[in-house]
């Protein structure tokens, strides 16, 4: 009985929200301000501009959240025997063909982020897919185990922090890139490291082995 009441209420609430959307006036957004300030950033894709320059702090915290997830997973994951890798000709052939294509395409995604939709997270996600493909087809996931795994996961946030502090040394304000050309270079550097870091992090999250990935050691 309570379920019916709850369902009905939730529907009602969503309708009310929809009514608010229809009734309440929408204020002009920040597109003009973004367009005006975009040239300073050195990138042409406004979303990347917002993500990496105007609201770079949000993105820093966002990468930190991913690192946090990896830390949490490493601390909490139960000790289980990993599933047997996919054997057989089709799997190995597919991995052999797809892996390089994935790496190439994620590189392109990363590069084109500055002008067209794309960027660090999209590239990182794709790359993570590739890494997972390799792992399930039996190759040893060296990139997410031991020190390299931990460093990989932390690299993204570290890059942001280093960039922010470095830039602050120059302009006195955190994450305030000095001028467009320096801005573009720094953004690209950050994006590159972030992409790799996200890839490693997501693959670690997919496997979610305890401790720092070495089998036989980790959370009780």
């Amino acid at each position: 009985m309570a379920a019916a009441f709850l369902g009905g209420f939730i529907a009602l609430a969503c309708l009310a929200l929809f009514a608010a959307v229809l009734v309440a006036p929408a204020a002009p957004g920040l597109e003009a301000a973004v367009a005006a300030a975009l040239p300073e950033t050195g990138v042409t894709n406004p979303v990347t501009g917002v993500l990496l320059d105007f609201r770079g702090y949000d993105t820093l915290l966002e990468v930190a959240v991913i690192a946090l997830a990896v830390i949490g997973a490493a601390a909490l994951a139960p000790r289980e025997t990993p599933p047997a890798p996919l054997a057989g000709p089709v799997a190995t052939a597919a991995a052999a063909v797809l892996a390089p294509a994935i790496v190439l395409f994620s590189g392109y995604l990363l590069w084109t982020g500055g002008a067209r939709p794309g960027g660090a997270f999209q590239a990182g996600a794709l790359l993570a897919g590739g890494l997972v493909l390799l792992e399930i087809t039996g190759s040893r996931p060296w990139w997410r185990r031991g020190l390299s795994g931990r460093l990989g996961a932390a690299a993204g946030t570290a890059a942001f922090l280093i960039a922010g502090l470095g830039v602050m040394a120059a302009t006195g304000r955190f994450l305030d890139y000095p001028g467009p050309d320096w801005g573009y270079a720094v953004i690209l550097a950050i994006e590159a490291v972030a992409a790799v870091s996200v890839a490693v992090a997501l693959s670690a999250l997919f496997a979610a082995e305890p401790g720092d990935g070495r089998p036989g050691e980790g959370a009780p």
Partner: protein, 538 residues
Amino acid sequence: MTDALLLIAAPVMPLLAAALAMAAPRRLSMLGLAVAAAPALVAGLTAGGAEAELPGFLFGAQLRLEPDLAPALAAIALVWGAAALHGRAEIADGPDSRRYKACFGISMAGQFATLLARDMASFYAGFAALSFAAYGLVAHKGTVEAMRAGRVYAVFVVMGELALFTAFVLIAAAQAGLAPPVETGVSAPALVWWLLLAGFGVKAGLVPLHVWLPLAHPVAPVPASAALSGATLKAGLVGLLVFAPPALAAPPHYGEALIWLGFIGAFGAALLGVAQRDPKVVLAYSSVSQMGLALALLGAAAHGLAEPAPARAAVLLFVVHHALAKAALFLGVSSGAPRMVTLVGLGVAALSLTGAPLTLGYAAKAAAGAAAPVLGPVLSVAAFGTAALMARALWLVVRQAPARTSRIKATAFGALVLGLASAPLMLAASVVPSTATAAAAALAPALAALALGFGLSLLRVRWPAPPPGDLVVLADPIGAALERSSRFTGSTADAPRSAAALQDEAPPDEGALWRETGVAMAVVLLAVALAALGAATR
């Protein structure tokens, strides 16, 4: 100056002696108590009219010895001294002796303080010390009767103290000062007179309040009962003189009541006392009777039947006489002197009490008669009663087993008898009857009593002895009932809380919790939204 010091020494010395008694061995301490009475005695004899000031004590104490009170002080001091001396032999050395001596000393100090104090606070302090410490003397033996007598005595004392406290507070509030009415001359409200009568009546054995007396005196050791009967009773009389003086206008019926109670006391006590078997009970009833007479005299003065000044003088003379005579009689009960000497002494005291010529008793009776002529016939009839009591008492003492001779007790007894004999010379009171008929009238009661007594004993008539303390016997059942009713235990300990069973919280049904939260979400969302919407219209 030395008089002032003497006055201060009178109440303080006994206190020191009492303190000494707590520490020093038995022998020395009793003598100390006897010596402690000396300053009061000397003061009584020499320091009439002296004054002393003790600013520090309580609310600023002023001591003053009224000239006409001096002989009373001397007599009472002699009684306390003799009793102390007698006590040295009489009181067995035991764990309680230290307690007895302390109580004895404090009572003596209290008595002297009441005689000397001229401000209500210190008077009341002395009076309370006397009353409460005297309990120690009454209940000394620790026997069942002693404890019962002690309990009755305590109840009456507390009643008396409360009455006096209220009276004094009323007086102090009325005249915004601590001096007693005798000096300020301001007559206190009527209620005060009755309260004073009750308070001092307990101490002086006024009839309805006398019941503790015949119970307490006999159970106390001999010297203690001598002091109790001889001296402490007088504190009541002196109190009435100081605080409800005949000179001031008494409230209506006050005088009459006092007269009638006095008469009942005089005759009733005599009747009750004659049949008693214990000589000390007889003597106790004799005291009640004698005090009845004195109170009747005071009543007469208050009622206007007598001049205030001669009445006061007569009462004071009576105080001196009764103190010495009654104390001598009590000590005579175990005088420690050879039988013949005791009998002679007792005879002198008995004769004096009956008012035989050539004795202090005659002088007192004559003064009373002169002060209140209307009382003349009453006094003579009372004399018959007293004579009968005396005969009974002597008879019982003679038939009593001879006590061990002890020189100290004998000297104490002798001192009192000598004091009684020499008092008329000292006070220059006329003891020689002016006319033959007066002499005959004075002697008649003694002779009649002797004849009656001798006759009754021949006929072996056994008078039914009413229980000593008469009225109190009725009170006993009430007392017991009160005791039982107060035994309800008022403890309010609540029942121990049942230990909460130590079960783990039952894991709540997960789904139910989420649904409850869902409902709560709905309510809160709606409330906040409506509030925010409502705000717009404000």
